[in-house]
Symmetry: C2
Amino acid sequence: MISDKMKEYVVGSSLIRAMFDDSKRLISIYGKENVYDFSLGNPCFPPPEEFKDTLKKIIDETDPMVVHGYMNNAGHESVREKIAESINKKFNTDYNAGNIIMTVGAAGGLNVIFKTLINPGDEIIAFSPYFGEYDSYTANVSAELVKVPPVLPGFEPDLEALEKSITPKTRIVIVNSPNNPTGVVYSEETIKEIAAILRRKEVEYGLPIYIFSDEPYRELAYDGVKVPYITKVYDDTIVGYSYSKSLSMAGERIGYLLIPDEASGADDIISAATVANRILGFVNAPSLFQLAIGECVDMKMDIDCYDRNRKALYGGLTDIGYECVKPEGAFYLFVKSPLADDIEFCEKAKEFGLVLVPGTAFDCPGYIRLAYCTAYETIEKSMPQFKKLWDSVQA
Amino acid sequence: MISDKMKEYVVGSSLIRAMFDDSKRLISIYGKENVYDFSLGNPCFPPPEEFKDTLKKIIDETDPMVVHGYMNNAGHESVREKIAESINKKFNTDYNAGNIIMTVGAAGGLNVIFKTLINPGDEIIAFSPYFGEYDSYTANVSAELVKVPPVLPGFEPDLEALEKSITPKTRIVIVNSPNNPTGVVYSEETIKEIAAILRRKEVEYGLPIYIFSDEPYRELAYDGVKVPYITKVYDDTIVGYSYSKSLSMAGERIGYLLIPDEASGADDIISAATVANRILGFVNAPSLFQLAIGECVDMKMDIDCYDRNRKALYGGLTDIGYECVKPEGAFYLFVKSPLADDIEFCEKAKEFGLVLVPGTAFDCPGYIRLAYCTAYETIEKSMPQFKKLWDSVQA
């Protein structure tokens, strides 16, 4: 009864989610205390306590028609103004409310921009390994996802391959740094090199090529590493942001798009993206959370807890013998699978109560992803299991 | 720079929204007290006071990771269970959590179902006049919207025309009762006749034809009129519900889909719709509002205020000489345009500070829509303006 496209999706439905559901099954078999779930990027620390107070204050003190009613499809203007000001302060830019469109998370924002810019048959470039949902979002607009391989072992993008991948049909290059699944943060140098390539190709083909900077992990960078603000390096940049991870509210679906005036056709894109927000069925980002974000625009989560997890998991696993690049951002570890077949290895891991995601889900077979947005105790207690798993697969 | 499809959308962007923006322009010219905005279906009465308390109680007393984190893409199971129970109690049905998928409003639900069921080139039937966004949602899945004309003056669907409109490509018939824009509520008799036609055609073509019952206005029915529950009349029914109007929270984007076990391929549809919710970028309905709805599932708005508006506006306008069908539901009045050209008439109306929406936006030229979810005073004070407008267009 269901559409042909959906049949494929349902069969191949996100390996990550499948693992998440597996976790429940394992708990029912082994008991909660014997299952170590590293599958899903669901933050394990609550939003800051002040955020709670902000929500209640808005509910108590603001006109309920403003709190819960329709607003402009782009979002509450006052909130967009505050976000623009916050960005300006942080990155020495010059945006205003008109450059911001509130979205239903970063996923909503990506779909809005794809709908806005992409004609069927256009090409969108992603750097492997990449967030598997990019495949679905690309298919939603009947475009083709072109994959640029990484340079190993550090998982930087292969810039030569990028240049060769660009065709007159290339409309968007997705940059996701800090990266899911590798945790790698691209340096300013790398961003500048990407920008130089795109500028050359824009001239060669006489068409704009946009960077979509997918930034749900922007605030999660460790060891003092800097996450460059790409709009300052490359004019045709559109930023997609989400508060899902930075303020631990993944279920509330709140984020924004930033479309700078410098981007080619910015006015048209802003108008069209506002309409796309509506006709894709989002209509607008959830209102109360827009207003709360407006009040908390410079609120920061304490990321020390993630950093502690990162060090414990990275240290523990590499001590056992696992190989992986030390992540500088996000809350993922991308580990070389001790078995060539990463899916088989993840199946094996379940026997030890370990729920991992195969790299295949990110177009990178031979690796596995661990989300360390878990309790610290989960990491501590899982180490003997990781050791047993390691031993079990040594020939 | 923007995609070809979006170019059309932006140019032809919703007449309703254009009117809404016009309202702001008129206010800046004539002053707020001289502009009477009947354009947008944005509820003018706040959610019940208890809803406020429920939100705050959840924020205070529930684990913030449950309140704000990811859950199953279909929504919180406890909430879906409560909604199913509430439906069962009201309509003597037998649903459970598995039949419910929480959505980003009714617009989200419609897009999820279209994505789930529709192949490019399939046909979706709507009864004119209809909510103009159906055009966009249909285009999102590259389907064709087939329009069945109304029987005038009562705006009941033309059932003979319906039967003739059905082809082997027909997958969905949208039923929207209480209706936007006419306010008409279809009787159980009408629903039974529609069901009989669809059943015949299902047999003839050997394929299921689904009714999508678009029910954001279900609770808004006056004079004791009954709104039939279509799943009880026709097995292949999918219900799309929204709390936007019934609890005055249009900006919060919260609703649900009901997919009964009796519908053909129900299991597949439920799985696929859950995946579609994710890959369209909704991911899940906003979490806090899901939980709040779970606590308020039987909460009722007082609709007397809308009823009072309805009587005042209907009585006032027909006294002046305007012709319209007396609406039994929703909060719209669909009035015959005194000028043959409804767009011209709406332009004329602006000179009197009246913001109306041309019927053309609902595939029904020659009429105008008035949303009476306004303050009562707006209706009272607008009457002399409607009289002047009437006089101004009499030949």
